[in-house]
Symmetry: C2
Subunit: 449 residues, 2 copies
Amino acid sequence: MPATRLQDHSDLYLQQIINDLDNGALYDARSHLHSLYPAEIALLLRSLPIDYRYQLWGIMAPEAMGGTLAALHGEVRIGLIEHTSVKDLMAAASQLAPREMADLVADFSAEAREKVLKKESSSRLEAALSYGGHNAGGLMSMDALPIRGDVTVEETLVYLREQKKMPANMDSLFVVDRNNHYLGMVAVSTILTSDSVTKIGKLMDSAEAISLNMPVAEVATIFEQRNILSAAVVDEQGEVIGRVTIDDVLNIIREEADHAVLRSAGLDEEHDLFSPVFVSAKRRAVWLGVNLFTAFLASWVIGLFEATIDQIVALAVLMPIVASMGGIAGSQTLVLVIRGLALHQISSSNAMSFLFKELAVGAVNGVVWSIVVAVIAGAWFSNAPLGMMLGGAMIINLSCAALAGVLIPLFLQKKGIDPALAGGVLLTTVTDVIGFMSFLGLSTIFLLA
Amino acid sequence: MPATRLQDHSDLYLQQIINDLDNGALYDARSHLHSLYPAEIALLLRSLPIDYRYQLWGIMAPEAMGGTLAALHGEVRIGLIEHTSVKDLMAAASQLAPREMADLVADFSAEAREKVLKKESSSRLEAALSYGGHNAGGLMSMDALPIRGDVTVEETLVYLREQKKMPANMDSLFVVDRNNHYLGMVAVSTILTSDSVTKIGKLMDSAEAISLNMPVAEVATIFEQRNILSAAVVDEQGEVIGRVTIDDVLNIIREEADHAVLRSAGLDEEHDLFSPVFVSAKRRAVWLGVNLFTAFLASWVIGLFEATIDQIVALAVLMPIVASMGGIAGSQTLVLVIRGLALHQISSSNAMSFLFKELAVGAVNGVVWSIVVAVIAGAWFSNAPLGMMLGGAMIINLSCAALAGVLIPLFLQKKGIDPALAGGVLLTTVTDVIGFMSFLGLSTIFLLA
């Protein structure tokens, strides 16, 4: 089958499905789904407005539900589960690997969960349930194939052939001692190309294993740095418990990147694009409330200078410029620091060098743009001293913005608060307050004298 | 070797290296590097202020330079290349696979590039150079192992053993016809567990191949949706040219996510955290200039109402609240749409449903918060009508913010402009202008009568 699979396909499918549902052509809709991968059906469901979504879900074959639910998260998944009978949920769950099943049943109702656990009574599922969490244990699958280092390539090949079928995406076997303690790993391709009498121990790469409670972000970093496809997961005693494969890591990296962007707008979780209006409104109201507080703080600062503005109205016209430029300059620094912290590029050893550099950049741009705004504003209001106040405030605010852009995320990180969530609000609070205060303050001192 | 590798290690290494360099303990610094993976050395170099960075680079063994340079990008890499002799560059390049080498020599000076090409005169390198670019051709390695479908498992095993060593991270072989045209792929693990007389064609999975000119973002989506570790790359005739492995895709996904965050602050490329002050300042000045233009636009709107502000100074105190809340509400919608477009969740088929939902959310939050601000502002200035103007403007601005948050990214996407880069500026321009205009306009009409 030749290549060329365009992404416009997903738009096309969406349009087709909506047409089918609008026309009551349910059989067509169902057969359109047939050619899709579970992850593609999941994308389709997330993209459908709620009524269409549940209509489509209602005509899906239970066999296709398992993989699709496994590829969904959060609100969308919970909504679909609520629209599925316990019987269909059991059928869906039974098609998944233990780890995915454990992840899925966590979203089930108590009744459905109990039924699935009774039916599946597998020790692997129980283990998967106990290892859940945002760490290597929650990410791993428990189908590692441990072998002893003192067997030969030939014996290994015989052993593998006896397995009949190897787990999906298995590129390596793990070498263990007689107590199942991890020693290293050996690539399947190495076994294939080696002499049949060679001992596995000789072919082994003593790559470090991942500990059960390592946070997923660290697991992702290790995969990125080492260009590996899988790694062994070991418990505190060093015993091999499972393996993490790179396709799971890929999903984690995508999700984390996604969350960082959402958090910057105060949207913390994986929400349904089409959740009901009041649910969405309530969720966003919190963030608006936080920002309203900081907006009133800025207003309060302006209020301190009411008498000055009363005498020189042009100040009211120009003051947003200082605040806005400070916010922009500060957020550039902020983004660099948040990213530097996430990639472990910025730490206590180099934070000072970076702070001085950013201060210098802020001062240089402050001077350059202060001249520009001073000239424009001075000409606009035929008032050179007014322009100079604007320019002076700009230098002050851009320097403070650089300082805040570096220090706020470092402070938040130290306090265990996600800088991507709270950094932007705190920064604009600082740049608004300092922007208004410096411009109106300088003007009060020098223009009203 | 047991597990537990903490990420604090990277901070620790950084501190050690800086100490070593400060104390002139170059031998210690060099031996500290010995235990690190190339990607870890790359991280270290990126995290070092420029003087330290070049000092460390100067004492690195040329053998370690290749992998390290391959793990770096942009400014940092170019800077290091400029500080390396042509002889060392040639040694560094010679350690890389053709694709990585092609990628690296593209950053070399003309002289060094020519020398490497003369020395390495490999047809694979030439091919890699010709396939460069931001598509599957630039991502693939050219070490695919094609086999015919009519050979048996036994014959394949013999053939593989003859290879002595298989390329890194190879989990699958590609099945081709007699003209080297792609038919499907077969996992190495399947070959291992199958009967020796079975024909490879029977074991084949007819997964679609990736075409040479498929954009990398699409390649990434395919890997995410299908949970595969590698895929064949074919040319227009369907002939197998190479393979893409998931570890390359992982890097792409990380970089794209990274760029999306940087672009939102007008930082478009992979820049050095420690680039010289004037270089950084100049780069950021462009974005500040764009924003200065929009800030002056907002000022001009305020200027239209100078006479009104002159009579009611409280308007100047309160007006930033309307603009700021509009900006926050709009950016929440904007982030959802930009993400929805990137994940192919939003398209022409469902954009309208989403727009209406967002408008409703904006209106609900507009009403709720307009009551809050009306009460606070009315009480603050003992002026109920003033509070009502603020509340009314808030409803208008939050509704317009929702509209702008949906339409701006859709419009930019249609025009081929990255919404993550330009969306935020355009949005705040709209919410500033409408915020100031609605509040000051309503007040002019109703309070000055």
